[in-house]
Symmetry: C2
Subunit: 336 residues, 2 copies
């Protein structure tokens, strides 16, 4: 029986992370170590058929070098019915009601689990970070803003998995339009998409500024979030002001979450966390400024994700391993 325990060191799974701009896959050991990794850009035509081909391609290439993997886990942006393994909808993608779990299980023969990308990332951070949080929220700041909630050590998904859509909390009702169609979502003001939009506005306002100047060297000549990041890293005040604004909005959302829940920490992950204090310093300042009753409730620590941009793949693999483990064990009351 020792070889089937969750904590046996050797088991490995493939973790897949489906984002708005890229699809990443990795072979992950259950202690979180990434043994191999592959990345593909998310197809422009992101219907389910095209997406499935990319997903299966990555899986088979990883498996060729690691035939020992015992499971597959998938984390995906958007609304996921985790019990059925169905990706119902994502704001920046064409696929709808995509039965990822069935497709991967049929093609690979491996047990597969699918969940929201931020849920699985939160699982990785809560279980494997040095601090092992019991109550935490993960915000993934990338193309969009994803959310994962762990309460009393377990992922909170809501009865059918529709909860934890933290990127669509309303922080600025009169603010800019979000990819989802609403106005003033956290995602509309505190995501990579928001950074790109703000950067383009800044470049238009000041065509001789550093953001506009750097943009002329970009492949398409247009400002991206990376243009703004490069300008900020060179000390450009306009670019740093955009990060201050974006981080402040993130902090406003964090303060609200800290009032709704009682948390050990809010962990920030996703692509933009690689900008470090450019994002985190203003987020921490706003989380403190808007904290409710800080003298008695404290101020929630805002920490960078331990796994960086790998959190989604690692968490997806953990979820796959957990499922594969529970399948081999005796059925338990209340298990999914």
């Amino acid at each position: 029986m020792t070889s089937v325990g969750h904590r046996s060191s050797g088991r490995r799974a493939i973790g897949l992370d489906i984002g708005g701009t890229k699809i990443a896959g990795a072979v992950v050991r259950e202690d979180g170590t990434v043994l191999a990794e592959l990345t593909e850009p998310t197809p422009q035509n992101s219907d389910a058929r095209t997406m499935s081909k990319v997903l299966l391609g990555i899986t088979e290439r990883l498996r060729a070098d690691h035939p020992e993997v015992v499971a597959v886990g998938v984390g995906a942006a958007g609304l996921v019915e985790w019990r059925r393994g169905l990706i119902r909808w994502a704001p920046n993608s064409a696929y709808r009601n995509w039965p990822v779990r069935t497709e991967l299980e049929d093609a690979t023969g491996l047990p597969t689990m699918v969940d929201n990308d931020a849920n699985v990332a939160a699982l990785a951070e809560a279980r494997l970070s040095a601090r092992r949080y019991r109550d935490m929220v993960l915000l993934t700041v990338g193309t969009g803003v994803g959310g994962g909630i762990v309460l009393d050590g377990r992922i909170y998904r809501g009865p059918t998995g529709r909860g934890a859509e933290l990127g669509h909390m309303i922080v600025d009702p009169g603010g800019p339009r979000c990819g989802c169609g609403n106005h003033g979502c956290l995602e509309a003001v505190a995501s990579g998409t928001a950074l790109t939009r703000m950067g383009r506005d800044a470049a238009a306002d000041d065509p001789t500024g550093l953001i506009a100047t750097l943009a002329r060297d970009e492949p398409r000549g247009a400002v991206t979030g990376e243009t703004v990041t490069r300008a900020a890293n060179r000390g450009d005040p306009a670019a740093r002001a955009l990060f201050a604004r974006l981080g402040r909005w993130l902090g406003v959302g964090i303060a609200s979450l800290a009032s709704v829940f009682e948390l050990d920490a809010v962990v920030v992950g996703g692509g933009l966390i690689e900008t470090g204090d450019l994002l985190l310093a203003p987020a921490r300042a706003a989380a403190r400024e808007f904290a409710y009753a800080p003298e008695v409730r404290g101020v929630v620590p805002v920490e960078p994700a331990a796994f960086g941009s790998e959190a989604g793949m690692v968490g997806a693999a953990l979820l796959g391993l957990e499922h594969a483990g529970s399948n081999r064990a005796e059925p338990q009351a209340g298990a999914p």
Copy 2:
């Protein structure tokens, strides 16, 4: 053993509800029926000593007519450490670290439980309303805005009871100052206090308008939330516009909660719910307008509290009865 079950029909408790403007007490049967009720204004000098006298006075007067009560439950605005029965802090009151549970148990000899007022009201709504919600949020709109969260049938309090401070979610970061010191809390824009503030501004802007006219008949000649309500009920466009604004902010907060959780309903209680559709219609409209992915996630129903302003007392009594019941039963693993 039948007489100690939670569902035996006869047991009665005193439920106390400590609000910013009044303290209400009732003798409540465990099916939710209110058998007797007393109300006192919250003392201007709201230190713990003064407050305790009022609380004990109400309790002893109710008990004189109903010596059969077996427990006391208290719901209080502010931060409550429910396991210790300590009211730590409330934004509109002078008391600090007030050991309500010990004081009441010592004076009455009855088992006593203390919790946040909105938590106990949520318990009443979830357990005793016709629909019996498994996953719901209660927002109490009175002097402030309180919040109670029931997930999978249980009150969510956070590890020590500091969670569910829903009135202090930030919905308008550039907005008015809240009693808690922050800016743009839900409570700052969607409470009775906000209605009074907006009503005073409206009366100053239009001294011949109905709000200002009605205010001259008030005891102190100043606009209150009730002045605005009376003007709105007479069809005054300015007063109705204030309710539309207040209800819209409430709906923005509700939309955010519906994205954070997956809910059967958001129930609205507290003193202002007596204004009915004046408050609920714009709240529902905004909850719909700002709903995330309504075509797949649905729009959360926004329902008036089944218990009206009695929810706090009823829920407090339920909590007291639950505690008294569990004290007489065998100790259980994991029980508080």
